[in-house]
């Protein structure tokens, strides 16, 4: 076979693979949308669950929002600070290498293990109970390494010339980082943080063991209240519903969760574009 016709065949095979990876999303979206859109209504979005598989999902939506916001509040600053250290200060020695190694280990930690740890350490050992706080902290353990990784990457891609220019103007290292490096790395950092948020929104295994049952009828009243979340609600209803009503609600909640995730992704994209425009690239 001559190279040109082989090229054609190869390209066709390539397109088959592309089609396969492209088809997954629409299939799942249509499946969820088709089954879930019927139940979506103002009523469903603003009322609380009744009798297990009836009523709405307001507390679950708000619970997810609370969990993820708090988790970001803990995880993002810590993650960005760690990334700054690793990218700007860390000398190339054993300590730094092991810090990096542990960060990577945490990134690869199965969520069920983080959940077990959250349960043992936060819920029982620190007596935080099954609560908003315990759930949010456990989630932030999951989010932390992703934020670190993305932020470090973003900080490292800031051209060395910016730092040299700032230092030559008499700025200290920290002034340079705050005023030049971080703003320039902002699009990457934001994307990293929002990526972590996206992961946290859909996480089930961790909140299962630390945050609450998923059926809560109220938005959390304090940091120590058990907190419902959409993934947990979906899991409960998908696996335990008695009736079609319940299964439909699982689909509906999945749709809401997907829309929330898309919302986070789109705002990540917009924030990124806004910063890129401001940076003039």
């Amino acid at each position: 076979m001559n190279p040109v016709s082989r090229e054609k065949i190869m390209k066709r095979l390539l397109l088959i693979a592309v089609a396969l990876s492209l088809i997954i999303l629409p299939v799942i979206l249509i499946w969820v949308g088709y089954n879930g859109s019927g139940i979506i209504s103002i009523e469903f979005l603003t009322s609380r669950p009744r009798l297990f598989e009836y009523g709405g999902i307001y507390p679950q939506i708000m619970g997810s929002v609370y969990l993820v916001s708090l988790c970001t509040l803990f995880g993002a600053p810590l993650g960005i600070a760690s990334a700054i250290y690793l990218a700007e200060y860390a000398p190339d020695n054993r300590i730094t290498q092991s810090v990096r190694f542990f960060t990577e280990t945490l990134a690869g930690m199965p969520s069920i293990v983080i959940g077990l740890f959250g349960l043992e350490f936060l819920v029982f050992y620190l007596q935080l109970k099954t609560s908003l706080l315990a759930g949010a902290i456990s989630l932030s353990f999951m989010m932390l390494p992703w934020t670190i990784r993305a932020s470090e990457e973003a900080i490292k891609t800031v051209p060395q010339e910016y730092r040299a220019a700032s230092l030559a103007l008499g700025a200290t290292k920290w002034q340079t980082i705050v005023n030049v490096v971080i703003p320039a790395a902002m699009p990457g950092i934001l994307t990293g943080v929002l990526l972590g948020v996206g992961k946290a929104v859909g996480e089930t295994a961790v909140v299962w063991l630390t945050a609450g049952s998923g059926l809560e009828a109220f938005v959390p009243r304090s940091l120590s209240s058990p907190t419902g979340s959409l993934p947990m609600y979906i899991y409960l209803l998908a696996t335990q519903a008695h009736t079609v009503e319940g299964v439909q609600r699982a689909y509906g909640a999945s749709l809401v969760l997907l829309i929330m995730f898309l919302g986070v992704s789109v705002s990540a994209l917009m924030a990124r574009n806004y910063y890129l425009r401001r940076l003039g690239n």
């Binding site: 030559a168 103007l169 002034q175 703003p183 940076l279 003039g280």
Partner: protein, 267 residues
């Protein structure tokens, strides 16, 4: 090979000028590598001094000795003295940040910050709290005028610095260096990434700048050294081979090595 040396430069005599920066037995190592060896020269004030030589000869390192930018390289270490206005900047008790405020620097490639034109200039004055908010506009305007850029950008100060052409960006970087009101301006091959027209503009600017500032220029472009500098140092593998009035270096070099370099037989 002949060099066109500026009329005005021909009138220059080193004895006419005061010493601004003096290197005394200055040595620099990068790890094991001895990058600068026993440097003893005096850079005169209010002229352009050029450091030239083949790449890797240490001319940029020498330049960076003046504002201690070598400090940010972890493996760099140095001995000897560098005096600015008679004060040793290598000594203890020297605040390196204050030093760098007195010494502006322009880099090889234009490196404006990813901010607006205005913010690029306002960056350092704001950082050092030298300016009241009201004065800031004045500083920006003066710096941009000083870098002959004001007329081109005065209507678009809020635009991103990256919207400027390469030559304009480099002049913006010069303006940024002027914003801290330095005595000395270091230029590290400022035209190497620019086209000939932009290069001519920057060179004209250097001739203006030396009225108020001491300008030190690193260049590998012999023509450029001949066109703009009063004094030239020729360096080779970490050592100063010859230092003197540009005219002397180009017309009657004392050293054979210098002559070979000037006549293009190596480098």
């Amino acid at each position: 090979m002949s060099y066109q040396i500026n009329e005005e430069l021909l009138r220059f005599r080193p004895k006419m000028a005061q010493d601004k920066v003096i290197f005394n037995d200055f040595n620099l190592w990068y790890g094991e590598k001895h990058a600068l060896i026993d440097i003893n020269i005096a850079v005169k004030s209010n002229i352009v001094t050029a450091f030239m030589g083949p790449s890797g000869c240490g001319k940029s390192s020498l330049l960076r000795g003046i504002n201690r930018m070598n400090d940010i390289i972890p493996v760099a270490r140095s001995t000897g003295e560098v005096l600015i206005d008679g004060k040793n900047i290598m000594g203890s008790g020297i605040n390196v940040y204050d030093l760098r405020k007195r010494v502006g620097m322009v880099f090889q490639r234009p490196n404006p910050f990813p901010m607006s034109i205005y913010d690029n200039i306002a960056y350092a004055p704001l950082l050092h709290d030298v300016a009241e908010e009201e004065e800031l506009d004045k500083i920006v305007e003066n710096s941009l005028r000083g870098a002959a850029l004001w007329d081109e950008v005065k209507d678009r100060l809020d635009d991103s610095a990256f919207s400027l052409s390469g030559g304009q960006q480099q002049r913006l970087c010069i303006a940024r260096a002027l914003s801290i009101n330095p005595d000395i301006i270091l230029m590290d091959e400022p035209c190497s990434a620019l086209d000939p027209i932009a290069t001519i503009k920057i060179e004209a600017l250097m001739r203006e700048l030396k009225e108020k500032y001491t300008v030190v220029l690193v260049t590998h472009n012999l023509q450029q050294a001949a066109r703009v500098s009063e004094m030239t140092a020729f360096m080779y593998i970490g050592e100063i081979i010859e230092f003197g009035a540009t005219r002397d270096i180009f017309e009657n070099p004392r050293e054979e090595l210098t002559e070979k370099y000037i006549t293009g037989r190596f480098g």
